[in-house]
């Protein structure tokens, strides 16, 4: 059984009396451990698609199966629980909690899972921060970190609960090209070490080419789906 399966997923936004079709029938299957990029022009529906997969939004029509659960008809509570245990998010604007340190931001996510002892949690968070290259910066707040460092914290936060899948909407859009490469390399490393499935959207060709599967979205539909090396 694939990790993720979308069948004829449609999303129509209602803007006043006008209907804006953001997704117009998306069929997609993603296996565990894949490292996939979604690309396409602005407005093609990348963010919308990632939000559907991430249980942040529900499709107007169609079916989404994640990890054996049909998420397109889960209740609000069940959607929150799916996000909590199975999905990690990375956003363009980092979305760290400004009053918490790097350590606390990551700890926040693992605390919600609540299956580890204090000591285990601490070790896990410190270890992960080291893995993403933030050793020695654990006690800095987001305001004292660079964009690339903030995004590393966000990656650690997404990974700490060992989710099935990590969704990243333009994770490198706010970074210069060198930092963007560092960040994508960390994502690759984590994908290889932990086997976590990644799906990310991007506009940057140099980031895109690092993926192993390329899904092109146009006008709310998949226009091509290729696999690389």
């Amino acid at each position: 059984m694939p990790l993720l399966e979308l069948k004829k997923v449609k999303k129509i936004y209602q803007q006043g009396k006008i209907e804006v079709p953001a997704l117009r029938g998306v069929d997609l299957t993603v296996e565990e451990g894949e490292f996939t990029t979604i690309f396409g022009p602005s407005g093609s529906g990348k963010t919308t698609l990632l939000n559907m997969i991430g249980c942040l939004d529900t499709p107007t029509e169609g079916e989404i199966n994640l990890n054996g659960n049909k998420i397109s008809d889960l209740s609000k509570k069940e959607l929150a629980m799916t996000r909590r245990y199975n999905i990690g998010f990375i956003f363009q604007s980092y979305n760290l909690i400004p009053v918490l340190t790097a350590f606390e931001n990551v700890e926040f996510a693992v605390r919600l899972i609540g299956n580890l002892s204090e000591k285990e949690m601490r070790e896990k968070v410190l270890n992960l921060l080291k893995e993403v290259g933030l050793k020695g910066k654990e006690n800095r707040r987001p305001g004292e970190l660079s964009g690339g460092e903030k995004q590393r914290v966000a990656i650690a936060r997404a990974l700490v609960k060992k989710p099935k899948i990590i969704l990243a909407d333009e994770p490198t859009a706010n970074l210069d090209s060198e930092t963007a490469q560092d960040v994508i390399q960390i994502m690759i490393k984590m994908n290889e070490e932990l086997g976590t499935t990644f799906i990310f959207s991007t506009h940057d060709p140099q980031v895109m080419e690092k993926a192993r599967r390329f899904i092109n979205l146009k006008d709310g539909m998949i226009s091509s789906d290729k696999r690389g090396k």
Partner: protein, 169 residues
């Protein structure tokens, strides 16, 4: 006997004048508390608005709405305790000053007006009185108001569509 209208009968020894005074004090107190409450509510609404994307992220992390509300309530409690302590400290300083030095009205009116001459029993200087129960009453009321008034704006913020909160559309 119109004066009897003022005696509430709660305190048998209190003279009508004291009763009037108590009512005036109560009235002023309620106004002060009301202003304080509006301040607290205003603060919490602003912080919920400001932290829209943070709340969106909490939802993305899989927090339930009531859990987010709880985070806000804990914060409001903390702020309430801090604010209450700071307020009591300032009040303490203010009252000690009034008790020891008093407020000298001759500085405002000058010497030419003698209140007593007009039958108003006012001295030149008004002194403060310690009223400890009021301190604790206001302190706990402040915390209570902070908690209660955090619930609605926090719920409103937590109830918002996460996509909208995160992307600030």
């Amino acid at each position: 006997m119109p004066i009897e209208a003022y005696s509430g009968g709660v305190c048998s020894v209190s003279s009508p004048i004291v009763e009037i005074e108590m009512q005036a004090v109560g009235g002023i107190m309620s106004i002060v508390l009301l202003i304080g409450m509006v301040g607290i509510i205003n603060n919490i609404i602003l912080s919920a608005l400001e932290r829209k994307s943070e709340i969106g992220m909490m939802k993305a992390l899989g927090m339930r709405e009531w859990e987010i509300v709880f985070v806000f309530m804990v914060e409001a409690t903390g702020i309430g305790i801090f604010g209450g302590l700071a307020g009591c400290l300032l009040g303490f300083i203010g009252v000690s000053w009034l008790v020891n030095n008093g407020l000298n009205f001759t500085a405002i009116y000058g010497d030419w007006l003698d209140w007593a001459e007009y039958g108003v029993p006012l001295l030149d200087t008004i002194y403060g009185v310690w009223n400890y129960p009021t301190f604790s009453y206001v302190f706990f009321l402040g915390i209570f108001v902070a908690i209660v008034s955090s619930i609605i704006p926090a719920y409103w913020a937590a109830h918002k569509d996460p996509v909208e909160s995160i992307y600030r559309r």
